[in-house]
Symmetry: C2
Subunit: 167 residues, 2 copies
Amino acid sequence: MTDTQTADPRLDQDAAALYDALSDLIRVYQFRDRDRICCHDLSITQCYALEALTKRSGATLNDMAADLFLDKSTASRVVSALDRKGYVERRPHPEDRRAIQLVVTPAGRELHDRIRRDIIEQEKRLLRDFDPETRASLATLLRRLAQGAAAGVEVSGGMCCTKPALE
Amino acid sequence: MTDTQTADPRLDQDAAALYDALSDLIRVYQFRDRDRICCHDLSITQCYALEALTKRSGATLNDMAADLFLDKSTASRVVSALDRKGYVERRPHPEDRRAIQLVVTPAGRELHDRIRRDIIEQEKRLLRDFDPETRASLATLLRRLAQGAAAGVEVSGGMCCTKPALE
DNA sequence: CCAATATAGTTGGTAGCACCAACTATTAGG
DNA sequence: CCTAATAGTTGGTGCTACCAACTATATTGG
């Protein structure tokens, strides 16, 4: 933890570069995705939720909230929106009557497929400029990054700065 | 444009994998950054704005809005918040009296540095697990991705689905 | 030089998102 | 049972982001 002294000056550079590139990427993607998704019937969060539920049908609300790093109240409202639009259903949970099972409707599945196809089409346009091996490794790299970041989140909890007694 | 027929089935896979990895990454990072940034005095957007202004001191509001892909009204309010907190100042533009020049105050600069150091520390923790060459190329890759995506945004404008007459 | 038009920024209004806190209903443990 | 924990919903708040309307300045053309 405290060995953050720079043994490797390159690491500093790389980390800074990573941060810069990543924040740009994220901003651009948020923007791009908004345009891309919102013209179908969904907001971004709704789309993510639909996707999470497509991947994990029958999940409870808490499951979904955890997958998406959302508060359960937010999750509940997102589900309500999807429900209202007919893409997701709340079913009583067979084993726990407090819980609900979230099920994607055929309409939801269809919409999800359409959006996914659409976005993947975009990605393909992007990837065309990369050579095949880079392309293949990209997703793996990003996945490692995401997992690493997720682990960091888990560890430090919802709490604030990792250096609690800094100042 | 219409040559989206799959000449290369690998491209489809890669694109799908990229999409999945990227949306995970973005969600995790949004979440992580919120925790990390908000414990300093800022929201995420405010932090991005502060960073953009640090990189480009003296920018006008429109400049900043363009950099961040924000509506100018949003940009104005973000600046107001930063102004209120004493991190940014609005100065009359020397050449155009309609415009303003946004200047980061010393306090703003100091806060930005602190946040940046903090986040980069996180990134370093992540990057430790990557071998040096991968690490070095990561940022470049992400930057290419971001640029590609930004170009796509620019081209298709604020408008909706690239396939206008789809259904 | 003045009128029409464009541009920079602000403000009003609206809607979504995300949080915490308070609440209901159910389950689990002692 | 009665208490404590858990699943989900709802209320309240604040930030973000959009469009539209507005003010003030700049630019262009007659």
